[in-house]
Symmetry: C2
C-alpha cells in the first residue's frame, strides 16, 4: 500500500472536524433538531430548548446561519419578528446527524457500562491523604 490512504484519511478527518466544530458545540444539535419539522421564532426556540440562554441561542443561530445551515428571515414590524428555518443544505445534515443519533442510541448503554467499569478500576486506588 502507498501513503495515499493516510493523507486522504487525515484530510477527511480534518474536514470532518470542521463539521464537528460547527455542530459539535453545546447547542447546535438542539437547534437543528428543533427546526427539523418547521420554521420557528426566536423565543419559540428559547422555550423549546431547555436551559439555553438568550445569548447562547443568538450565538448558535448566528453560527449556523453563517455556514448556511439555517436561514434567518426578519420582518420589519413592531414588535420585531424573526423566523428561523433549516436550509436545503441544513436538511441534508439531518440524515447524517440521524446516523450519529442512531449510533448513540445503540451504544449509549454499552458506553456507560464501559465507562463505569473504567472509573471503578481507576478510582480504586485512593491516594493516601
Amino acid at each position: 500500500m502507498d501513503s495515499t490512504a493516510f493523507s486522504e484519511r487525515t484530510r477527511a478527518a480534518c474536514q470532518a472536524r470542521e463539521i464537528l466544530d460547527r455542530v459539535g458545540d453545546k447547542w447546535s444539535l438542539y437547534v437543528i433538531s428543533q427546526l427539523s419539522d418547521r420554521t420557528k421564532r426566536f423565543n419559540e426556540l428559547k422555550r423549546d430548548i431547555d436551559g439555553i440562554s438568550q445569548r447562547m441561542l443568538t450565538v448558535t443561530l448566528r453560527g449556523l446561519e453563517r455556514d448556511g445551515i439555517i436561514s434567518r428571515t426578519m420582518y420589519p414590524v413592531m414588535p420585531p419578528r424573526v423566523d428561523y428555518a433549516l436550509t436545503p443544505m441544513g436538511r441534508t445534515l439531518l440524515d447524517t446527524v440521524g446516523s450519529l443519533v442512531s449510533w448513540a442510541e445503540e451504544h449509549v448503554d454499552e458506553i456507560e457500562a464501559t465507562r463505569a467499569r473504567y472509573d471503578a478500576r481507576t478510582e480504586s486506588f485512593p491516594e493516601p491523604e
Copy 2:
C-alpha cells in the same frame, strides 16, 4: 400530532451530544482515523497526528479508552511498550464517522462559500473609530 416527537427528538439530540462530546473534541477523530487500519504505539500516533502534544494525546487516548472505543495494551518490558487499537465498538463508529466525513466532503465548498459571503456582508459595516 402529539408531543412525543418533540421529546423523542430532544432525547435523541441529547444522546447524540454525548457522543459528540466524545468524538467532537480537538483530537479524537484523528486518533480514531489513525487507528482505522491497524494497531499503533504511542509515539507512532504522536508522529502521525500533526501538531498534537504529548499531553493531549494521552488525554485523548484515556478518554477513548474509558468509553470503550479503543483498547490499551501494556507490555511490561524495558523500554515500555503500549499498543492502542480500535475495539469492535470503535470499529462500528467508523461507519458513522464515515457518513459525517462524506457529508463534510460534499458540502465543505458550499459552506466555505456561504461563510465567505456572510462575512463579507457583516464586515462591510466598520465602526467609526
